[in-house]
């Protein structure tokens, strides 16, 4: 289908509607990022950059991050703007179906979690828990392009 990108993790194939997610995020990026006044902290990119993740750990980190966004981010990002809310739920739905597929990869043992990815994800959670839930969720949502850029 147009705009769906297939990510290959070992024998596992995970379709993600990247174009739709990107378009949805681009439409709300300025709005969401303007709600995040903290310049000096990042959830995803500091102190460790996603770009330094070993390829063998990519599947596990991707699964962790999709679970993180579904369970800890989208649900805490309701705004007073219905347009923004609609875009967020559309992105969330795309994440839900991709996460389901990634879960199947894990069950088929195609998504092994090495020590490094476990450590890296712990750091991401620590960054998240260093802020109150709403601020942390809004900051994480504002960093969605960091995740998408890394995935691609």
């Amino acid at each position: 289908t147009a705009g769906v990108k297939i990510f290959h993790f070992g024998a596992c194939r995970v379709p993600v509607s990247m174009t739709e997610i990107r378009a949805g995020f681009t439409a709300i990026k300025a709005n969401i990022q303007s709600r995040d006044p903290i310049r000096t902290l990042s959830i995803l990119s500091h102190p460790h950059s996603l770009h330094k993740v070993k390829s063998s750990d990519r599947c596990c980190i991707t699964h962790h991050l999709f679970t993180f966004y579904v369970d800890k981010v989208f649900k805490h990002c309701r705004t007073e703007d219905s347009f923004v809310n609609r875009k967020i739920s559309s992105i969330a739905n795309s994440f839900l179906s991709a996460r389901r597929k990634l879960g199947q990869c894990r069950e088929q043992n195609n998504c092994v979690c090495g020590e490094e990815s476990t450590e890296r994800f712990k750091q991401i959670l620590a960054n998240y828990e260093g802020l109150n839930v709403t601020s942390a969720a809004m900051k994480s949502l504002g960093e969605l392009d960091i995740l998408l850029d890394w995935m691609e």
Partner: protein, 213 residues
């Protein structure tokens, strides 16, 4: 604490303008101020805790500052900020929105070269290079930055005004079964699906197919 009281109106519309990742900060002068306003600039890597001054853009009277080398790592995101000074008073620091070089740059059209036989034309396309600080630096094609980069190519028969469109992934295209002794004009555009980025179309390059032998 010796803090200057800042009553000057703020610089306006502070933003990055980026082409092929040549990232230049631009702004408009504060409202109602004539000549004589000076500015200074700082920038920050998003997620890192400090603002960094740009010495080459300290006490300048122009309203732009090239931050390309400071923002050349496109795996990072950035903020930049400008402060104005006039007659001993100053404005607040005025910031950009978060700048992501990968998604927020514009891409130039590709370079197009064409050759012809009697019944076909061959087109070679070259994607622009990412900005680099000096000629000695290694050239990076935007093809390396955007692996999903494609080309949209338009071919126009000048006589019949018939136009074809092609979408190709590699950088060469041969258009066969053409009329001998006819002028064809070629124009091309870069298309990146995600992140969604499109260049404009290049200028038209016209060439005549050889006459029948």
């Amino acid at each position: 604490s010796g803090q200057l009281y800042c009553s000057l109106p703020n610089p306006r519309n502070v933003r990055f303008e980026s082409i092929n990742m040549k990232n230049v900060l631009h702004w408009s002068a504060p409202e109602g101020t004539g000549d004589g306003v000076l500015y200074k600039v700082k920038y920050a890597v998003y997620g890192v805790g400090k603002w960094i001054r740009k010495p080459e853009c300290r006490n300048i009277n122009r309203t732009w500052c090239d931050l390309s080398s400071e923002t050349s790592d496109y795996e990072e995101q950035y903020y930049a900020s400008v402060k104005a000074f006039l007659n001993g008073t100053c404005s607040d620091w005025m910031e950009t929105t978060r700048f992501n070089p990968l998604t927020d740059t514009k891409i130039d059209p590709p370079m197009v070269s064409v050759s012809s036989t009697d019944k076909s034309i061959s087109i070679i396309l070259t994607a622009p290079e990412k900005w680099k600080g000096s000629p000695e630096e290694e050239s990076i094609s935007l093809l390396q930055v955007y692996p999903g980069l494609q080309y949209n190519v338009s071919v126009l028969n000048k006589k019949t005004k018939k136009r074809w469109f092609f979408s190709i992934n590699n950088n060469t295209l041969v258009v066969p079964w053409l009329e001998p002794g006819t002028v064809y004009c070629v124009s091309a555009q870069i298309h990146v699906t995600t992140p969604l980025l499109d260049s404009g179309f290049s200028e038209e390059h016209c060439i005549a197919t050889l006459k029948d032998k």
